[in-house]
């Protein structure tokens, strides 16, 4: 059983991950696995479309912090769009919004990335 899915899409040099379902431990590791592989292939800019993720836990989100840390080493960038209000709030409380960017829409994100 999996409560989480992620699909990948590349636009220019940007990697866009579309998540679906509960971002828990397992979900976080699916995302970081993809990011780390892409980082070792030279990619440095990642965007998460989280429209279909209404529920997260702090373990899953802590793995995003690990990705932010790894991206700092390669001068990279992480962003998110289409966040549910509670996910946005959780990112604020945990401080992710200081080191990565939240956008309302894909257009807004692409304009800045």
């Amino acid at each position: 059983m999996s409560q989480f899915n992620v699909s990948i899409q590349e636009e220019n040099d940007l990697v866009i991950l579309t998540t679906e379902g509960y971002l828990n431990n397992e979900g976080g590791e699916m995302i970081s696995g993809i990011c780390y592989e892409n980082i070792s292939n030279g990619k440095t800019r990642f965007l998460l479309d989280m429209a279909q993720t209404k529920v997260v836990n702090s373990i899953g989100v802590s793995i995003l912090i690990e990705i932010i840390e790894k991206l700092q080493e390669v001068d990279g960038k992480l962003g998110y769009y289409n966040l549910a209000p509670i996910v946005d709030k959780t990112f604020k409380i945990m401080g992710l919004t200081k080191y990565s960017s939240v956008y309302a829409t894909k257009e807004e994100a692409l304009a800045d990335f």
Partner: protein, 138 residues
């Protein structure tokens, strides 16, 4: 009449916190709580549940009680694990964690406190009870 009370007894297996939040969702709707409040309750409940699952080292079950008061939802998350000393838990700061060896975890209790109206911990060597409340209006 007694206050309506829903009790869950959950085994310690993956993703059982979803049973808890699905119940919270029905309860929130029943009490006519706003969607925002319902989502905050769910997030806090997830954190309390995964602490009970992950840290309590309880061998048996975790219990969750929802008490539907007139204007307040009271939720208790009860484990029969090893307990902990809340005063020893540090407040997490992302600045201290990035680029250091510090474990990237540690936001569960913080999230619960920020998202609920009140939170209390009773913890002994026999286990931990987290009691959290959310008011209908605030």
């Amino acid at each position: 009449m007694d206050k309506p009370k829903i009790e869950l007894k959950l085994p310690i297996i993956a993703n059982m916190e979803l049973v808890a939040i699905n119940t919270a969702e029905v309860v929130a709707k029943h009490m006519d709580l706003s969607e925002d409040k319902a989502a905050e309750i769910s997030m806090a409940l997830i954190e309390a549940c995964i602490n009970a699952f992950e840290h309590s080292q309880a061998q048996n079950n975790v219990f969750i009680h929802f008490i539907l008061e007139e204007d307040t939802l009271v939720i208790k998350v009860i484990d029969q694990g090893i307990g902990f000393d809340k005063s020893k838990v540090q407040i997490p700061k992302i600045e201290n964690k990035l680029g250091t060896d510090e474990r990237k975890r540690g936001w569960g209790l913080q999230l619960i406190k920020e998202l609920m109206d009140t939170v209390e911990f009773e913890s002994t060597k026999e286990g931990t009870t987290v009691t959290m409340t959310k008011k209908k209006e605030s």
